[in-house]
Symmetry: C2
Subunit: 243 residues, 2 copies
């Protein structure tokens, strides 16, 4: 029986991967994942067996990884960002069930809340909520409730999956919901293609974020009531009294 | 003029540090930080100048780092976990102000939401809130509002700084607030000393979490309405329909 390690590779570049993730990918025999994420690591670990599935076949991908490990291979399943936060670790545990075989290890990676905020400044120095705008697996009404609650509680908000080809206007819809509670001049930011070719960052007020052409490579940050723009950077103070 | 890099070193062990954080610490001349975090890296980078300050002197520590960089040194300021999430990056930007000197770079690291959830299973596969229970810089009423809002919106919740010697009963107080909204059998978990000597994990219901003897080395996870315990692991499903 082999072992299955679910590896968060971070935003996608080698430097933002952990030493541990790099070691697991060097030591494994088979790398399984969504083809876009596998392509991010293929060149650096060329002597591996690579198995990929398309985007919406998550359960198939996990079953494939579990089967390979049961068949004796040491398997690394790659997730972009973290392996747990909107990643495949949960589905692997669900599909493995009570059997407790094969052995599973979860290796964390930098989620976009960490890597995107570093690119934009320091928007998450205080409490925050992470909310995905994808309604493929979640009813939109639930997303709306969470946006409203986070804004009312003065949490900074990180929006994952703000838009895609099939959901081009979801960021606009989310901003319209937030604008019921938050002012149009609330400082916000967008991190795009973090750590990959064409990386970019935009700092802008919530009223303009509404009309920002976001895509699936974007992570969006909405500041709390204290968030400021300092020298072009999005900064949420912690509240130190002697500053 | 030197450069100041704020480095998230992750939970504390070398393997969970990013390749980029390791490179910055190897290349810098001076390492600045809270003495406990500096001690985590001192052995691996022995040929550096080390500057430390006690726990509550955050602004002094940041001014020291900025001054060293202005004086010509390449300085790395170490933060445990991420450099931005409750880290020093925000304070550095505040203190540097509009001067834009010295050059500042923020290197993200694994925050406890990532590293702790990997240790416990996969509790953050869906939307979540991160809330610190420390009221040193935040009024308790605000913390209470955020706990209540997060529970009502069915967000998983990660509690940072759940207790300390001066606040031994804060986790109990937080649980009592959550128990107004959430059932006592809600699956929860505690990750302690992640990646360090004596690392441990506990999975338990919210009603028992209330009486858990948490300390400053703990990070606490409260599941959402879908969170399950599978083979001893805390798992929040994403909602895939074919499982």
């Amino acid at each position: 029986m082999g072992k299955l390690t679910i590896v968060g590779i971070g935003p996608g570049d080698y430097e933002n991967m952990t030493v541990r993730a790099d070691r697991v990918l060097r030591e494994c025999q088979t790398i399984v994942g969504y083809h876009v994420y596998v392509d991010l690591v293929r060149e650096r670990y060329p002597d591996k067996e690579f198995l990929t599935t398309p985007m919406t076949r998550e359960a198939d991908r996990c079953r494939m990884a579990l089967d390979e490990a049961k068949g004796g291979k040491d398997v690394a399943m790659v997730c972009s960002g973290d392996s747990g936060i909107y990643g495949m670790a949960g589905l692997i545990y669900q599909l493995r069930g009570a059997a407790a075989e094969p052995e599973v290890e979860v290796v964390p990676g930098l989620t976009a809340a960490c890597s995107g905020s570093a690119l934009l400044g320091a928007p998450l120095t205080h409490d925050f909520a992470v909310i995905s705008l994808s309604d493929r697996l979640t009813r939109w009404e639930r997303i709306e409730t969470r946006l409203t609650a986070a804004a009312a509680a003065d949490l900074s908000i990180v929006l994952y999956n703000p838009a895609s080809r099939g959901r081009p206007d979801y960021l606009q819809r989310a901003c319209d919901i937030l604008l019921r509670t938050l002012p149009a001049d609330r400082p916000c930011g967008v991190a795009r293609s973090i750590g990959r070719e064409g990386e970019s960052r935009t700092v802008l007020p919530l009223g303009q974020l509404r009309d920002f052409a976001a895509d699936m490579f974007c992570t969006v940050f909405v500041g709390n009531s204290q968030t400021q723009i300092i020298d072009g950077n999005l900064v949420t103070p912690r509240g130190y009294r002697d500053v």
